[in-house]
Structures are given as structure tokens and as C-alpha cells.
């Protein structure tokens, strides 16, 4: 029964305290000794944990592809290897926090994270949380958060996993994972490289007559290393360190609306490091973290004579302390300090620095056996100013064994980025007087769960959030572009998720349907110049999205198929059909073969994505892959039986 519930939670599109409490009890020991407990404040908040089969088949892909496939959110993308930022519930990339073991990887310069640069190694835990959560995760968590974590195992074992994937358009992945652990220490390391030639054909319908062209200047090369080392001291302490280094070298293709003679390329280096100490007593836990991130980006375009380097970094210090008072009642208090800086390349002598101190607290309680609540609050102080104080309140209530309700209300915010405040360069200048974006929002969900021989789950969610002081860059004069707090944007929508699972003999069938309706409109425009955009849907935000997936597992085989339908997307401010991206449907199919004996595991998968060969774009002029195939092989050898 417990295992059944655990499996269910992994598949499930939402995670609520009450539905999934059984899985927590399974690994309670590990959870309480290791890792932050901030996420326990996510009461009444929607989150998605990724299906293990999807994750295993996504090795070699990036986060943009993964999020597209599972339909958890929207990707704003400049093509296959181009800048891709995640957007949840009608917000944008800078309103989505990307957290690596709790540390934000969003750029201090532009506020967003390019998730096309973040590979899926298959060794991480991934959680996607939707809706505002600034009370827990701070600035930028307006639309949602993507959380990736790595955890030590502390089991006596050594394992090596080798993965190779080969696919269409020169796609190659090589990955080596090594892990060794005892009851006292845990070490793991992953080395990866990804190469994509990206010389894929696409239909250029912007040309007359429309013609098939081959993408050029789109080669992509990435290599990286992650290491984790942890020591368990006594029965209640863990000390450890994590490191993630990555280098990308890639060509930057042009818009196919423009010239095909692109010559731009980019070289990125990123280093991320983290040391942490965890203490978990009987009813008191402490987590201390010190982390740094460093990024260097070099953009060159020989034909346009551009050679531009950008560097930025951050240092985070955090302490959080949790007191467990009684069953289901706990208090967490934390203090965070973030130091951010940017290099002189773009800001000259006045290269910006910022110190932000945050105090946060989370009180979780259970006023009744079937009711769980959390009250969270966070206050940030960036460089002597005050960010909006961000409280949130969440509730989960189980009405009956069949029906549960959950909901939350929250205030969320985003403090302006360095570019917003201080950019000075060709074509624009920052605005040091910008105010933080500030939002109030809430959501309500009803979920039904019926378990007999089969499992039915339905969740219906409605949400609404109003974002004030929305920061927008716009042309202000002949001198160029500048940002201002020009807009009030109202995002609201509905999400429907239906899951059906049936086990019959050796066959396991899971279907998942998810539909998202998103309205995100300009409500107030401070300048008359934007009057024609009032009440209109923000660009590149589809109103309708739908994903249907089917998974069939039978003996050593797993079959997965998925259909994504993305509605029309407007590309400009007035919602004109003539410039809109048409709706499109993508159909993916894959099959996996798994062989496992006592110590070894072999997985082979064959994927055919976009089998209907649909031509589509997520940004005008940036075509995506048509039909493409890949073959992946993964071999894992362990020293001990599992």
C-alpha cells in the first residue's frame, strides 16, 4: 500500500500534503536529516514531480524540452538551442525562479534562466511548482519555480552508469555517472557532454514561394561536471559540498525572417558551488548553506563586428531553523543574504553590486485531523530599500476519502535586475528609479481521488493573480529603450488534470490529460502610447494548451506516447491574427526496454518525436525540429544487490 502510494505521487500532477503523506513517512529519516524544509510551506500549492520514465528518457535533452513535453508550463523559445525561458500561468521567464538545491540560478542581469542550457542528467530530483511563492522562495517566484535537487544516498553501494544517446540532426550525448556511498559518506559525480549539429530542415513559409531550408549556424556543444560529496556525522548531522561546472559553445542562428548568413556564436561558462551543514535533532533542525554562482558569457558576431563579454555572479549565505512542535505543527525561521555583482564589461566603472538580506518564516499547523495549513512570510531588504513584504496562507482539507480541497493566497514580487536598473549601452539605458513588481494572487483546487483496482484522479484548479508595476522595456525616445513600471497585468486561468491508472496482470496503463486555459492581459497602461494594447493578451502566451499522454508498461517494455496541442500565440501587442503563431500539435512516441538483474541494469530507448512532422515555432522566425529520432542506451553496474 505504501509503495503504491509512493508510485502514485511520482506520477501525479500535484502534490498535496494529505494525499502524499505516506511517501514522506517512508523516507522521513533522510528528509529530516538532510536538506531544506522550506518546501514544506508549500501547503495548498500546486507542484509536479516528474514521472521517472519521462525523466529517464529525457537524458540528453534540456529543461525546455522536458517542460514542453510534460505540459507543465510554457516555454518562450528562440528555437531549438536558442534562449528558452520558462513561463507559468501567463507570467514570464524573469517571474519564474530556477532553484538548484535552493539557490537561484536566475541571471542577476536579466532575471531569467535560460533552461535550454540546463541538461537533464537523470540523477536529479525535479519539481515544478506553479503559482506565486515569493513568501518561500523570494524575488521572482511570481509565476512558479523549477527546483532541482541532488541528495546523497548513504547506502553501502558503488555504481557506475554509462549513457549514450544518438539522434537526428547530429544529436549526441555521452554521460558517465559514478557514485559510491557507505552509511557514513556519499560521493557522486556526473560528467556529460552534448553535441547537436542542428542542421535540421524546416519549411520557411516567410519566403516566396515557401521552401524547405536547412538550419545553419546552429551547432551546439556542451560539457559539464557535477559532483556531490556528503558526510554523515553521528546520527543527526550531515555536512557536504556540491559543485556544478559547465561550458557551452554554440552558434547563434538568425531569425529565418532575416538573413540566413548568420555568423554569431556564444561561449558560456558557469560555475556553481555549495557547502552545507544539516543538523536534525529530535524536534529541531538547522540547515546552513553557503553558495556561489559565477557566469561568463562571450557573444561574438564577426560579420557585425560584435565582441561582447558579460560576467555576473552571486554569493548566498543562508541559515534556516525548524522546530517540530507536535504532529503536523512546525515553525521554520530563516535568514538569507545574497550578494550579487556584475562585471565591468557592460556597466563600466559603475559595475553594480547589491546586497539583499531576507528574513523568512513558515508556520505549519494542523487545526483538524484532515486539515493542514501554512502561514508563510518573507521580507527582503535589497541595498537598504524594502521589497514588498510577502505573506502567504495555504490550506489543504480532505472533505472525504474521495474529495480534497486546497488553496492559497499570496503576495509575490520581483525586484528589478541589474539591466533594468543600470544598463547603459547601445540602444538603451536602465532606470534606477524602478519599483519592484508586486503581485497578489490566489488559487483554489478541487481534487478527486478514487482507488479501487484502478486509480482515478481529477484536479481542477482556478487561479488569479494581478501583477502591479510590471517592468517593461520600451522605446522611450530616439535615445533608445528603457524600462519602466508601466503595466498592471492580470493573469488568470484554469487547469484541469485527469489521471487514470490501471494495473491488470503484468500490464500497467497510465493516461494523463491536462488542459490549461490562460488569460493574461494588460489591465492598466500608464502611457497613452500603449492604449491599443489595453485588455489584450500578452504576446507569446497561448490561451489554450492541452497534453494527452499514455504510458503502457508490460514486462520489460514501456511504451509512452504523448500529444501536445498548443493554441494560437499572438506575437505583438494588439493580438492580430496576421502576426500570430498558428496553433500546432506535436505527437511523440517512444519505447523503452529494460533489463535488470541483481546488480546490473540496462535500458534502451527509441524515441520518435514530432512524428507528424509539424512545422512550428514558439517565436516568429525561429523554427523547431520536425520529425526526429533518437536511440539511447544506458548501462548501470552496481556493487551491491538492489
Amino acid at each position: 500500500m505504501m509503495l503504491r502510494a509512493a508510485g502514485l505521487c511520482l506520477l501525479f500532477l500535484w502534490h498535496t500534503e494529505l494525499v502524499c503523506q505516506e511517501i514522506k513517512s517512508v523516507s522521513l529519516d533522510e528528509v529530516t536529516i538532510y536538506g531544506s524544509r522550506i518546501s514544506e510551506g508549500e501547503v495548498g500549492v500546486m507542484s509536479t514531480t516528474i514521472d521517472s520514465l519521462v525523466l529517464s528518457q529525457s537524458q540528453g535533452e534540456n529543461f525546455a524540452e522536458l517542460i514542453r513535453k510534460i505540459g507543465a508550463g510554457q516555454i518562450r523559445s528562440y528555437g531549438v538551442s536558442g534562449l528558452s525561458t520558462p513561463a507559468f500561468r501567463g507570467t514570464n521567464g524573469s517571474q519564474t525562479s530556477f532553484l538548484w538545491n535552493g539557490i537561484t540560478l536566475n541571471s542577476s542581469l536579466n532575471g531569467s534562466s535560460d533552461i535550454s542550457q540546463i541538461p537533464i542528467t537523470g540523477n536529479e530530483q525535479i519539481k515544478i511548482q506553479k503559482g506565486g511563492a515569493s513568501s518561500l522562495y523570494g524575488s521572482g517566484a511570481i509565476g512558479g519555480t523549477i527546483q532541482i535537487d541532488s541528495r546523497p544516498s548513504f547506502q553501502d553501494n558503488t555504481r557506475i552508469q554509462m549513457t549514450g544517446e544518438f539522434g537526428s540532426f547530429g544529436r549526441r550525448l555521452h554521460q558517465l555517472h559514478f557514485g559510491t556511498s557507505t552509511m557514513r559518506k556519499s560521493f557522486s559525480m556526473t560528467l556529460y557532454n552534448r553535441v547537436m549539429e542542428n542542421d535540421y530542415p524546416y519549411l520557411n513559409s516567410y519566403r516566396r514561394p515557401a521552401r524547405i531550408e536547412t538550419r545553419n549556424n546552429a551547432r551546439y556543444y556542451q560539457q559539464g561536471i557535477t559532483t556531490d560529496i556528503d558526510f554523515r556525522m553521528g546520527s543527526n548531522q550531515v555536512i557536504g559540498a556540491k559543485f556544478w561546472g559547465q561550458k557551452n559553445e554554440y552558434q547563434v542562428p538568425n531569425s529565418i525572417l532575416a538573413s540566413s548568413n548568420a555568423s554569431a556564436n556564444q561561449q558560456d561558462e558557469s560555475l556553481r558551488g555549495l557547502v552545507h551543514w544539516n543538523y536534525a535533532g529530535k524536534s529541531h533542525a538547522i540547515v546552513i548553506k553557503e553558495a556561489f554562482v559565477y557566469n561568463s558569457l562571450l557573444f561574438t558576431d564577426p560579420s557585425a563586428r560584435i565582441d561582447s563579454r558579460t560576467t555576473f555572479g552571486a554569493w548566498t549565505s543562508r541559515i534556516e531553523s525548524t522546530w517540530d512542535m507536535s504532529k503536523g505543527v512546525s515553525l521554520l525561521l530563516g535568514l538569507n543574504h545574497l550578494f550579487e555583482y556584475a562585471g565591468e564589461e557592460n556597466f563600466g566603472e559603475n559595475a553594480p553590486e547589491r546586497n539583499t538580506t531576507s528574513l523568512f518564516g513558515s508556520f505549519k499547523f494542523r487545526p483538524a485531523e484532515k486539515t493542514s495549513m501554512a502561514l508563510n512570510v518573507r521580507q527582503e531588504r535589497p541595498d537598504g530599500s524594502w521589497a514588498p513584504i510577502a505573506p502567504s496562507f495555504g490550506i489543504e482539507h480532505q472533505l472525504s476519502s474521495l474529495i480534497g480541497l486546497s488553496g492559497n493566497i499570496s503576495r509575490n514580487y520581483r525586484i528589478p535586475t541589474f539591466n533594468d536598473l543600470y544598463w547603459k549601452g547601445a540602444g538603451g539605458f536602465g532606470n534606477p528609479l524602478l519599483l519592484p513588481e508586486s503581485a497578489w494572487g490566489g488559487e483554489l483546487s478541487v481534487h478527486l481521488l478514487a482507488k479501487e483496482q484502478s486509480v482515478f484522479q481529477i484536479q481542477v484548479t482556478g487561479y488569479s493573480q494581478s501583477v502591479d508595476n510590471w517592468i517593461l522595456w520600451r522605446p522611450v525616445s530616439a535615445e533608445g529603450w528603457s524600462p519602466d513600471n508601466v503595466k498592471k497585468v492580470w493573469t488568470r486561468g484554469g487547469e484541469l488534470d485527469v489521471l487514470f491508472e490501471k494495473k491488470n496482470g503484468g500490464v500497467n496503463i497510465v493516461t494523463n490529460s491536462s488542459y490549461r486555459f490562460t488569460r493574461t492581459t494588460n489591465e492598466e497602461i500608464s502611457s497613452e502610447n500603449f492604449i491599443r494594447e489595453k485588455g489584450k493578451q500578452l504576446s507569446y502566451t497561448p490561451i489554450h494548451e492541452f497534453v494527452q499522454s499514455l504510458k503502457v508498461e508490460f514486462e520489460k517494455f514501456a511504451f509512452l506516447t504523448r500529444y501536445n496541442l498548443v493554441g494560437k500565440q499572438f506575437s505583438e501587442g494588439e493580438n492580430k491574427d496576421v502576426f500570430a503563431l498558428p496553433s500546432y500539435g506535436i505527437w511523440d512516441v517512444s519505447v523503452e526496454y529494460r533489463q535488470r538483474d541483481k546488480k546490473n541494469r540496462t535500458k534502451i530507448h527509441l524515441k520518435a518525436d514530432n512524428i507528424l512532422n509539424t512545422n512550428y515555432e514558439n517565436r516568429r522566425g525561429y523554427p523547431m525540429y520536425g520529425r526526429n529520432y533518437s536511440l539511447g542506451v544506458s548501462i548501470e553496474i552496481q556493487s551491491k544487490q538492489q
Binding site: 516566396r208 525572417l257 563600466g348 504576446s539 522566425g621
Partner: protein, 361 residues
């Protein structure tokens, strides 16, 4: 369980209904073959929403997106259009191409899309020859391309100054305003249309971008001026900057009149000059406002023609109306204001994104 199935079915139907309930498109009625003028709308740079509009003189209405309605997307950042021998040449700078259209049906007659790295303006010379100014990929390698209009291919590249921009044919010579592009220049190249080579270079003020010939056969030139700035602080370095100016030269290149403004800086620029139908009154766009100047004047006017700020300007050669184009931003539609010659606003129309000028049939 059965109840659950019912609920699922109902939700399903609702969701399918929502998916199906998409809004219908507004159809555009296109005034085929009527008298009027075209309007080039640049669109937002990089967004691929440049467009072509048409003003119908008879019905006094504007039809937008006429190119897209007939042919499909126009591309990215159309800079200009020229009508020559009843054929329209739309120069789409950031798509590195020229779209050739029938000016009555707007149907595509072809695309000139090779050897044009950053084209700006087209000028038709003969049934088989046209010229196109081009900034080059880097924005400074200015050239004029010779086009064979029977094959729509580039047959020759003539090096000019930086940022080759507007073209003028006078006394069978081609005058090229070297606007600087992303660099700096202060010359007019004069091309011999028989040899297709630069035969002389006239030095004027910094960054000439627009030029017209008046009734006396003299050339009026608008120069943008040069703004030097500290790349770190963006502060204007006044001592190294030069102001914009209106110049009059004769066909041989002698400067007859040089009327510089006092102010320098990013907003103190001249963008466009145009003449009325009689060729005796100049209109130009300085600091985003319209000014008028008699071709016999010797000083700059002190007051603007209109209080409003504009992005583009054209003068109607038939009735002398001043067409002023407003681009409130580059993500939603702009406006065309029509003034009579005395400066009274007659009418306003919604046009495309970033309108920059009109082209007359």
C-alpha cells in the same frame, strides 16, 4: 466510480468546447487597382511584423497588411518602397531582400534576395537597371548594388561611403547620401550611371541621410549630425559631437547653403526631407517634429509645423498634403495624420506598426 466517469466526461466536453471556441479573424478588404498611396510600416525590429498599408483616395480609407493578405508575411523591418514602371519594390532591410509586387493587385512578382546584406532604398533607372543602397552586414560597409531588373539579380557592387542611404537621380547622375549607418560619414557619392562607378564625392555635414531635388535643380540634404558619447556613462560628449543640418548644394556639389542646428545629442537629429509638388517648399523631420522651409529661405524656421512628435514624413505630390506618421511604440499600430499645406489636421488613420513614409502611385 460511475459518478466519477460522468464528471470526467462532462469536464471533457467542457474542455473540448473551450478549445473549439476560438475567435474568428477579421477579414481585410483590399482596394484593388484604385488610386492612392502605399505606407511602409517598419514593425518591431526582429519581430517580423513589418507591413504594407494602402490609402484609397476615393473612399478615404486605409487597408492594412495588404502584402500579407495577398502573399504572406512581408518580413522584418521594411525600410522603404519605390514604384518604378508601375512595379513596386519593397526594400526589407533586416530580411536582406527586396519584394517586387504588382502595384494594383499587390501580388508578388518576385524576390531579390541574394547579395543584399542590409538594403535600404531602391531607385529604378531603366527597364533593365535599378540601384539599391546597402549598409553591409556590419552597418558601415556602404555600397550601391546594381540590379538587372529583367532577372532581378545583383550584377555589380559599387563601394560608397558608410551607410549608403537615400538615392537621387538628377541629370542622369546618381547621388548617394552616405548616412554613416552604424558608423560615421559626411559625404555624398556621385555615381556615373553609364559606367556605374563613383565619379566624385561631395563633402557635406555629418551623416547625410535624406536628399531631394527642388524645382531649381538644386539638392536639399538633411544630415543627422554626429553624437559622440561615453560608452560607459552614455553621456554625450558635446565637444566631439556635431549638430544636424539642412544643406542646399548644386548638382556639381557646391554647397550653396548650410543651415546647422545648435543642439547636439541623441534626439537632436534630422531624419527625413521631402518637397511639395511644386518643388518650392521643403518639409523635414527634426527632433521628431515637422518643420517647413521655403526653398528660397536662408535661415531655419523657429516653430514647428505641428506640435506632435512623428516617426515618418511624406508630402503628397498630388494635393500637397503633409502625411505625418506616428509610432507610439513598436508593438502596436501607429497612426497617419493628414495635414493640409497650412498645417491644419484633416484626418487620422490607423496604420501598421512603426510607419515611416508613403509611396505614391
Amino acid at each position: 466510480m460511475n459518478k466519477l466517469k460522468q464528471i470526467i466526461t462532462k469536464l471533457w466536453i467542457i474542455s473540448v468546447f473551450i478549445l473549439a471556441a476560438c475567435s474568428s479573424d477579421d477579414s481585410v478588404s483590399i482596394p484593388i487597382g484604385t488610386e492612392g498611396f502605399f505606407i511602409v510600416n517598419e514593425g518591431g525590429f526582429g519581430n517580423g511584423n513589418t507591413s504594407l498599408s494602402f490609402y484609397d483616395r476615393e473612399t478615404k480609407t486605409v487597408a492594412n497588411n495588404i502584402f500579407a493578405s495577398v502573399n504572406g508575411a512581408l518580413g522584418d523591418q521594411a525600410q522603404s518602397m519605390t514604384i518604378f514602371n508601375n512595379v513596386g519594390y519593397i526594400v526589407v532591410q533586416n530580411s536582406d531582400k527586396i519584394e517586387v509586387i504588382n502595384v494594383d493587385t499587390y501580388e508578388s512578382l518576385g524576390t531579390i534576395d541574394s547579395d543584399l546584406p542590409s538594403p535600404r532604398y531602391f531607385l529604378g533607372y531603366s527597364a533593365t537597371k535599378g540601384y539599391v543602397s546597402d549598409w553591409g552586414t556590419d552597418g558601415v560597409t556602404g555600397t550601391v548594388k546594381v540590379i538587372d531588373l529583367s532577372t532581378n539579380t545583383v550584377t555589380k557592387t559599387i563601394a560608397t561611403g558608410q551607410g549608403a542611404n537615400e538615392l537621387l537621380l538628377l541629370n542622369d547622375k546618381l547621388y548617394v547620401a552616405n548616412s554613416g549607418g552604424f558608423g560615421r560619414d559626411n559625404t555624398i557619392s556621385v555615381i556615373n550611371t553609364t559606367t556605374d562607378e563613383v565619379e566624385s564625392t561631395i563633402t557635406v555635414s555629418d551623416n547625410p541621410n535624406s536628399l531631394v531635388a527642388d524645382a531649381d535643380g538644386n539638392i536639399w540634404i538633411g544630415t543627422r549630425g554626429h553624437t559622440a558619447f561615453d560608452p560607459n556613462t552614455f553621456a554625450v560628449i558635446e565637444s566631439e559631437s556635431t549638430p544636424p543640418a539642412i544643406l542646399k548644394i548644386d548638382a556639381a556639389g557646391t554647397v550653396l547653403l548650410n543651415l546647422p542646428y545648435q543642439a547636439v545629442g541623441f534626439s537632436s537629429t534630422i531624419k527625413k526631407v521631402d518637397l511639395n509638388q511644386a518643388g518650392d517648399k521643403l518639409y523635414y523631420l527634426y527632433a521628431s517634429q515637422i518643420y517647413e522651409l521655403s526653398t528660397s529661405a536662408t535661415t531655419l524656421p523657429s516653430t514647428a509645423f505641428s506640435d506632435k512628435f512623428y516617426y515618418g514624413l511624406s508630402v503628397d505630390p498630388i494635393d500637397g498634403s503633409v502625411l505625418a506618421f506616428e509610432a507610439p511604440n513598436f508593438s502596436s499600430d501607429g497612426n497617419m495624420d493628414i495635414y493640409d499645406a497650412s498645417g491644419d489636421l484633416q484626418s487620422s488613420f490607423v496604420v501598421g506598426i512603426g510607419p515611416n513614409g508613403a509611396i505614391f502611385k
